[in-house]
């Protein structure tokens, strides 16, 4: 005997045959939708290339920088008040302002390094190094939150001064490396074009390529320059001169390759 029962099919009740119910249309649709969602969910994350990430992190860095500057200005005011009146209240205000400034300083530095890290996909060693400093800064904010006296802050600031030297070295080294990586990608593209255009690379561009490599190596070597124990000696400006030389060589190769291709095409 066949008995008519109500089953759930495509969102509406309908009469079907009874017995052990097969997978209904709704069920299938349900699974299919979850499957689609599973497939599609990671796609936007994967589609975010490093430029999008850089934009996000850069915006965050600029925002954190503004906060730091506001807090720093407040710190200067409170410090001035304490130096003038030397009261318990003004001391407490100064300690509070110091804490806020240092917390926002660490957050700002961390957001800067996060942004910088996204530009270093080809240099995992520097990425790891920056990541370590980011984690260190995060842990320091936990420590800072528990400090209460001026003496505590003094000890912390003394330690920070020493640690900030290698942080600065890595920041500037990363900036140099990031520019070198960017230029090397352009050089690879130019080589690819030359290969497709049947242009002899070695015959036409070997000398300029050597100049380019040499300038990059010299730029990076500035990061190995001697540092003092108690202060950072800047090297970025010197490296910038070498990077400009590398840039000039690269622009010259681009221009020459263009003109050779034009000549070859007979226009």
């Amino acid at each position: 005997m066949v008995k008519l029962v109500y089953t759930y099919a495509l969102g509406a009740y309908g009469e079907t045959r009874g017995g052990p119910s097969p997978l209904s249309g709704t069920f299938l649709l349900h699974y299919f939708m979850w499957f689609l969602l599973f497939l599609l969910l990671p796609t936007p994350v994967l589609a975010q290339d490093s430029n999008d990430l850089l934009d996000q992190y850069r915006t965050d860095y600029f925002y954190q920088r503004d906060i730091y500057q506001q807090n720093y200005q407040q710190y200067l005011n409170k410090k001035h008040s304490f130096d003038q009146y030397r009261t318990t209240t003004s001391l407490q205000d100064k300690i509070e302002a110091t804490k806020n400034t240092l917390l926002s300083q660490n957050i700002m530095l961390r957001s800067y390094m996060m942004a910088l890290r996204t530009t270093l996909n080809d240099t995992p060693t520097l990425q790891d190094s920056l990541l370590n400093y980011e984690n260190w800064l995060l842990s320091q904010n936990t420590t800072l939150s528990n400090l209460t006296t001026a003496a505590d802050f003094q000890i912390w600031a003394t330690d920070f001064q020493k640690t900030y030297i290698p942080i600065q070295i890595d920041i500037y080294k990363s900036l140099i490396q990031q520019q070198i990586n960017h230029r090397q990608k352009i050089l690879l593209k130019l080589k690819d074009i030359a290969s497709r255009g049947d242009v002899n690379w070695d015959k036409n561009f070997l000398k300029k390529e050597q100049d380019f490599i040499e300038a990059n190596t010299e730029a990076l070597s500035w990061s190995q320059s001697h540092q003092f124990e108690d202060r950072f000696s800047p090297f970025y400006e010197d490296a910038q001169k070498n990077l400009t030389d590398a840039d000039t060589a690269l622009k010259s190769i681009t221009l020459d390759l263009k003109s050779i291709l034009i000549k070859k095409s007979g226009r």
Binding site: L116, I193, N204, L250, K258, L261
Partner: protein, 120 residues
């Protein structure tokens, strides 16, 4: 009767102390070149100079030709700072557009400036 001394009228001034009036120059008659020949002479001189110069240049060129390589070895690019990108073969135009944009790219990440004396 005293003898009267007469001076030879053919030699009225025979004083060796006085400079001899030399009129020999007057004897040489300079023959002036007729003006109609002057342009011809100038033209001849110019032709002579030009032919000498041509001879020198030709001999120079002949000696240089021996040093020239039979075929060019390297494709010499145009030494122009700006090129008309529309002349680049179509298949490379998009690539070069990307490269030109990349060459002027900057990450715009100014390093943070902090006061490390805060807290001291």
């Amino acid at each position: 009767m005293d003898e009267k001394i007469y001076q030879n009228i053919d030699t009225p001034k025979i004083n060796p102390l006085e400079p001899i009036d030399n009129n020999l120059s007057q004897l040489v008659t300079i023959k002036k070149i007729p003006p109609k020949f002057i342009p011809l002479i100038a033209l001849g001189i110019i032709i002579f100079i030009l032919s000498v110069a041509a001879l020198v240049v030709t001999s120079q060129r002949k000696s240089d030709n021996h040093n020239l390589a039979p075929t060019p070895t390297v494709e010499i690019p145009t030494s122009s700072e700006t090129l008309n990108d529309s002349l680049i073969p179509t298949m490379f135009q998009a690539d070069f557009k990307d490269i030109d944009a990349s060459l002027n790219y900057s990450p715009n990440l100014p390093p943070p400036e902090i006061d490390i004396s805060v807290g001291l």
